[in-house]
Symmetry: C2
Subunit: 201 residues, 2 copies
DNA sequence: ACAATTCGGGAGCGATCGCTCCCGAACCGA
DNA sequence: TCGGTTCGGGAGCGATCGCTCCCGAATTGT
């Protein structure tokens, strides 16, 4: 029983996410957002309450798209674990190459910029991290169950190593490091899972 | 032939470094800096030109203190390589515990906040990264030379893996992750260097 | 003693910050 | 048709941003 919106709220959140992703929270002004989303201040505040709330929306949107896609790529059904892991990590350091690179990971950027000062942000970054860890865990467990990984493999430990490596890779992509070097790091991280156990004949 | 300063420039840079380190570049205002360094705007600008230049000074100061100390701790003479690496990485994720934690690494925080947009900043972060890589390289080379590491060890690759892991650890410390989990990741990263070669009798 | 020079302190510049309010127009249900 | 409600647009709020300028005081070399 009122006038409907002339803009798509979802598109607006997408644009806001890209902006926050590239520049970070503090370096992105409300006017920048207004220009990018093609929203006047009144519409922006009526829809998103304030800058901080919009930022949380952007974080949630990122988790619902990029993070979810990352998890799916790791769920790769019945392909060899090492291959899945390798391609997944390679994708992590090249995915933002749709046009531009050096954006890193929005969650990692946010975690380092705001640290643990902002509780609502911290909850979201931590939840995103935990999702990744769980995805790694199930992938490794499946691989071990199929006999591709040693039965002695310490999965919890391997998860911590791979997860830490991924965060480092994201930082390095943001810093503009060579893909070649990152690939080297990826290959060695996977090799750290140990050799494939000998097949019982 | 003029009135001397009433403040210690070095102390001022140290305070500025702590502030930029904790809050990042954009979230730290010139007035915050003035309060912390106990400098009036006129003194601050006369001495440090502007905020951006002071930030570069802070980055240089950090590299000359924290980064240098980190490199020295890695130079640990004749102790076992794995032990040196393990204690070094543990120190990296606990060193800011002089009072407060969750500061991460100033260089890593800066690299993710500003990305590659600021050329002068990029040069400094990249130089700091390269110093760390070189330190890792020489440590590994020495360990291999002493027979503690396999002669087949791909040192360049191991450097990339350890360096990437370190960046990840720094992010996780900033994010407030448990020391226990970080220790697990550290131990597995070191184990990735392979077993000690059998001693020739 | 005296000119030269830099100091610390502070007022305040224009610009931008995040945000609010008011407006006439557009759209809805009854 | 028309009252009710939300819309897009824009002026502009107080606060803070990075930064400049001017001042009297302090310390220098001569």
């Amino acid at each position: 029983m009122a006038r409907p919106r002339q803009f798509d709220e979802k598109n607006a959140v997408t644009s806001a996410t890209e902006l926050f992703w590239r520049r970070g929270y503090h370096a992105t002004s409300v006017r920048d957002l207004g220009d990018a989303l093609k929203l006047t201040p009144s519409s922006l505040y009526r829809t998103f309450t304030d800058k901080h709330t919009l930022f949380l929306r952007a974080l949630d949107h990122y988790r619902a798209t990029e993070s979810t896609q990352a998890r799916q790529r790791l769920d790769a059904a019945d392909r060899p674990v090492r291959e899945v892991l390798r391609e997944w990590m390679l994708w992590l350091v090249t995915c933002p190459a749709d046009g531009e690179s050096g954006r890193g990971c929005f969650v990692v950027n946010t975690a380092t910029e705001l640290g643990t000062t902002d509780e609502k942000v911290r909850q979201r970054t931590e939840a995103a991290f935990e999702v990744t860890r769980q995805a790694l865990r199930s992938t490794l467990a499946e691989g071990r169950g199929r006999g591709e990984l040693s039965a002695d493999l310490d999965i919890d430990g391997a998860v911590e190593l791979l997860f830490t490596t991924v965060l480092g890779l994201r930082v390095r992509e943001r810093a503009g490091h060579d893909l070649e070097r990152l690939t080297t790091a990826i290959d060695l991280a996977i090799r750290a899972l140990g050799p494939a156990p000998a097949e019982p004949a």
